[in-house]
């Protein structure tokens, strides 16, 4: 349309080369390391490590916390987005940006804030003692990690859901009311289904990072709570067992792939 095939191919080749070297080859290397051992021969040993109790536990915990965080993010974000989508034009853009603003601060700093709040001698316990209430020890527990995840990833749930909701034509809502639906029925039968693309997008953008994090669990869980992300990280930085680390990463990628497939199916159902 714009340029002939040859020029286009020429123009695209720098990126193609880059993508090959920096996306495909590295991915290949993970697979290579994951399926081989020190001697260089093919093995499934690295992958099978996931079944071992310690490793499996970390995966399971990551999975659980990931789901909990995603659900909490969803429950918090959806009503927020509904309120925002309803507000008058101009107003809601500013308020939306206000909620997205923390995203622009550094990710580590955001996690750090909760460390400060939740520590044994942290701000939260400080406030509680002033109110003559007993201190709570949330730090270094899974609960702290969930709080950290929700805090960090909430904007990623807010944005796509808000986009979906704001795209719904006012008259479609009016039509549902016109046909006899109460506010609740309208929400259930029209608003919610039409916002599904945004929900799916939000879930993906929260669940995968939550599942694979190690920074949040490191900072808010201490060395007591290990997620699969921590385990993999330690294989590389502490144990120097790249084969095992890669093998476990492959397991992670299976989850990511599964998530992609589920999203794609749900997406296609929408576009039927």
């Amino acid at each position: 349309m714009y340029k002939k095939g040859k020029t286009s191919r020429l123009m695209a080749s720098p990126y193609l080369a880059w993508a090959f070297i920096f996306i495909l080859v590295p991915l290949g290397m993970i697979f290579y390391y994951g399926f081989t051992n020190e001697a260089g021969s093919f093995t499934l040993q690295n992958i099978s490590y996931i079944i071992q109790p310690a490793y499996f536990k970390s995966l399971l915990l990551a999975f659980e916390l990931g789901i909990v965080s995603t659900v909490v993010c969803f429950l918090l974000a959806y009503p927020l987005c509904m309120i925002l989508a309803d507000m008058k034009l101009g107003h809601h853009e500013f308020i939306l940006t206000l909620f997205i603003l923390p995203m622009w601060m550094n990710f580590l700093l955001r996690t750090l804030t909760w460390m400060t709040l939740l520590e044994r001698k942290g701000v939260l316990n400080d406030i509680l003692s002033v109110l003559h209430l007993p201190p709570v020890y949330i730090i270094n527990t899974p609960a702290a990690i969930v709080i950290g995840m929700v805090y960090n990833f909430l904007p990623f749930m807010i944005l796509p859901i808000y986009n979906s909701l704001s795209k719904i034509d006012d008259n479609v809502i009016n039509a549902a009311r016109d046909l006899g639906a109460s506010s609740f029925q309208t929400f259930l039968r029209v608003t919610l289904p039409l916002s599904v693309p945004g929900i799916i997008s939000g879930i993906t953008m929260v669940f995968i990072p939550a599942l694979t994090t190690f920074a949040i669990s490191s900072m808010l869980g201490g060395s007591k709570v290990l997620l699969i992300g921590n385990v993999i990280e330690q294989e590389f930085t502490v144990a120097y067992d790249w084969h095992l680390g890669s093998g476990l990463s492959i397991i992670l990628m299976i989850f990511i792939l599964a998530n992609m497939i589920v999203s794609a199916i749900a997406d296609r159902k929408e576009n039927l």
Binding site: P26, L112, M115, T116, T212
Partner: protein, 259 residues
């Protein structure tokens, strides 16, 4: 009645999002290093911050990496999008598919894979490797912003320019490019944000001796937080807030965030 509930809910979420940041800012003025006792007001940490070479270096690294990576990513991404318009549908789908990989993949996998690459190729880790890594995950953000816009653009304008005697290059720069600029800026800003914020990929590709803000903080956490970091947070927050207010004076440019 409903309005009151809505306002309460908004405020609650608002407090949830900003209370932790507020706590940090307050602590940045705390003369005592303790996180629970107030030892009096001080600007000591702010001054220490400026003379702390480690933190300053990390800050500069972060900004430089983000800027250069964004620059390259924007260049490569835009050129590739333009190129893709002249390719077959199938090729386009494949390329976009590959481009999506860093976005879909967990950061940890991207970081590890790049680390393996650099070690295998015997490239010493540091500024360059981090830069390459950032460019790699920035390009998809640029392309994801520019590509849809590219598809939307009416080819008639370009053809009209050709019809009036312009060379393909002139026609492109005078008709198509101006239309693309918002999407390019949007993608670049997205990439810049991602670079500034990145931790995991940088962590794995930096080796030792090179730090960005994120990795520095992570190290500090192990050692015990210095209050300079709180001062840093406060400054960053103010800067970001100012940016927000400035950007809000140009509501059209804000649109990029809501795509």
């Amino acid at each position: 009645m409903k309005k009151t509930f809505e306002h309460i809910y908004l405020s609650m979420i608002f407090i949830f999002m900003y209370a932790p940041i507020a706590a940090l800012i307050v602590l940045s003025f705390n003369a005592s290093k303790s996180r629970s006792k107030w030892g009096g007001f001080t600007l000591e940490w702010y001054f220490n911050l400026l003379s702390d070479s480690e933190v300053m270096d990390a800050l500069i690294n972060t900004l430089v990496i983000a800027l250069i990576a964004t620059l390259f990513a924007t260049l490569i991404g835009t050129v590739t999008c333009v190129a893709m318009m002249g390719l077959k549908r199938r090729s386009r789908t494949i390329i976009m598919g590959i481009t999506n990989i860093p976005m879909i993949n967990a950061d940890i996998v991207t970081g590890i894979s790049l680390m393996l690459l650099f070690r295998a190729m015997n490239i010493s880790t540091g500024f360059v490797t981090v830069l390459f890594a950032h460019i790699t995950f920035n390009i998809p953000f640029v392309m994801l912003s520019v590509m849809p816009r590219m598809k939307e653009i009416n080819p008639s304008v370009y053809e009209a320019a050709l019809d009036l005697g312009a060379s393909p290059f002139t026609a492109f720069t005078k008709t198509v490019l101006p239309d693309l600029v918002p999407a390019i800026i949007s993608g670049a800003l997205m990439a810049f944000t991602m670079s500034l914020d990145d931790f995991i990929v940088t962590y794995f590709t930096k080796g030792s001796g090179f730090d960005t803000l994120s990795t520095l903080i992570y190290n500090e956490v192990k050692r015990g937080i210095q209050p300079e970091i709180y001062a840093l947070s406060a400054i960053i927050f103010i800067v970001v807030l100012l940016l927000l207010l400035i950007i809000n004076r140009f509501p059209k440019k804000i649109k990029f965030m809501h795509k």
